[in-house]
């Protein structure tokens, strides 16, 4: 169990070091308690759903003959907001860059950013899913949070 604990701690630390997650994620964890036991997973799941929907909308919007930059910007703004709310820092930063290209009405720039945001999203999704798996293993082995 000690090994699991160490693995979990190391994995978590790496996520923060690589700036995949920021302190906002810690805030989420602090809001989780006995009365709200699945809070983090619930919010993160909402983020996954929301993001996938938005990424589809973004691809569609950029595929139009006449790109509606206002709509594009609105979607990116939404994604920026939700990624910021869960602490997905790299996704959030990708969105900020994306919005600049929207302001400049630069389709090629936007396409590049979309790909970048997609990549960062996929990364954070995989990392979080792994994190939850590790946490579950830890809890199943008798561990409890917070880890001292």
């Amino acid at each position: 169990m000690e090994q699991l604990q160490r693995k979990l701690a190391e994995y978590t630390t790496s996520l923060y070091n690589e700036k995949i997650l920021d302190e906002q994620f810690i805030q989420l964890q602090q809001l989780q308690d006995e009365s709200n036991p699945d809070f983090v997973v619930e919010v993160v799941s909402l983020f996954f759903e929301d993001s996938e929907r938005l990424l589809n909308e973004l691809a569609k919007a950029l595929n139009q003959a006449n790109v509606d930059f206002k709509k594009l910007d609105a979607h990116v703004h939404q994604m920026k907001g939700s990624s910021s709310s869960i602490g997905a820092q790299r996704v959030q930063r990708g969105c900020i860059a994306f919005r600049n290209y929207c302001d400049d009405r630069n389709v090629e720039g936007c396409l590049k950013c979309l790909q970048q945001v997609k990549n960062e999203y996929t990364l954070v999704k995989n990392k979080l899913e792994t994190l939850f798996k590790l946490e579950k293993q830890f809890v199943d082995a008798g561990g409890s949070f917070p880890i001292v």
Partner: protein, 183 residues
């Protein structure tokens, strides 16, 4: 930890079009022992507060601005709203609340993911108690308790608080907080 007496429970109305942010805000206030109602738009907020809009394309156009008979028995001690929302913005909602004789004493807090000084100033001038940058933290929520006390203790004299905007970084306005005197 929380006070058991029912009359010390604060009721917060949270307005945000983002589901994730509504969930977050709800959790933040619940962990501070507040009762929370969340709605996803300004118009729904006004509906909840018992205020019908005069010019609402969806609803009946002949409703008076304030219908005392429609007034809900629900007491709201704080309204916290996102700034950027489709349709009615948080600023529009703030204005409507401050224009209403029945609602203007409820403290209103604005949240925004964007740090736009002119936006912040405009909201504060319109009567917002605080302006928080998103994501909102537990420490922000704790600051609001004293504001909520004001509407609970209705017999307190209404003083005009001093509004001080402080900048945490001098070279650029990264965070602007409104600091009100304690109590």
């Amino acid at each position: 930890m929380g006070m058991a007496a029912a009359d010390l429970q604060f009721h917060v109305l949270a307005v945000d079009d983002s589901l994730i942010d509504r969930k977050l805000i709800e959790s933040l206030f619940r962990s501070s022992s507040c009762q929370v109602t969340t709605v996803d738009s300004g118009s729904k907020a006004l509906e909840f507060l018992g205020l019908q809009e005069e010019h609402d394309d969806q609803n009946h156009p002949n409703q008076p601005c304030v219908s005392p008979s429609n007034q809900q028995e629900v007491e709201v001690n704080l309204i916290i709203t996102d700034y950027c929302m489709p349709g009615m913005t948080g600023y529009d909602l703030l204005k409507k609340i401050k224009e209403s004789s029945s609602l203007r004493n409820i403290p209103v807090v604005i949240m925004s993911s964007e740090n736009v000084p002119s936006r912040i100033t405009r909201c504060l001038e319109e009567g917002a108690e605080e302006f928080f940058l998103k994501p909102v933290r537990l420490s922000d929520v704790n600051k609001l308790k004293s504001h909520m006390m004001k509407t609970k203790c209705k017999n307190n004299k209404q003083q005009q608080p001093e509004i001080i905007v402080t900048q945490e970084k001098q070279e650029s306005i990264d965070i602007a907080h409104v600091v009100l005197p304690e109590g």
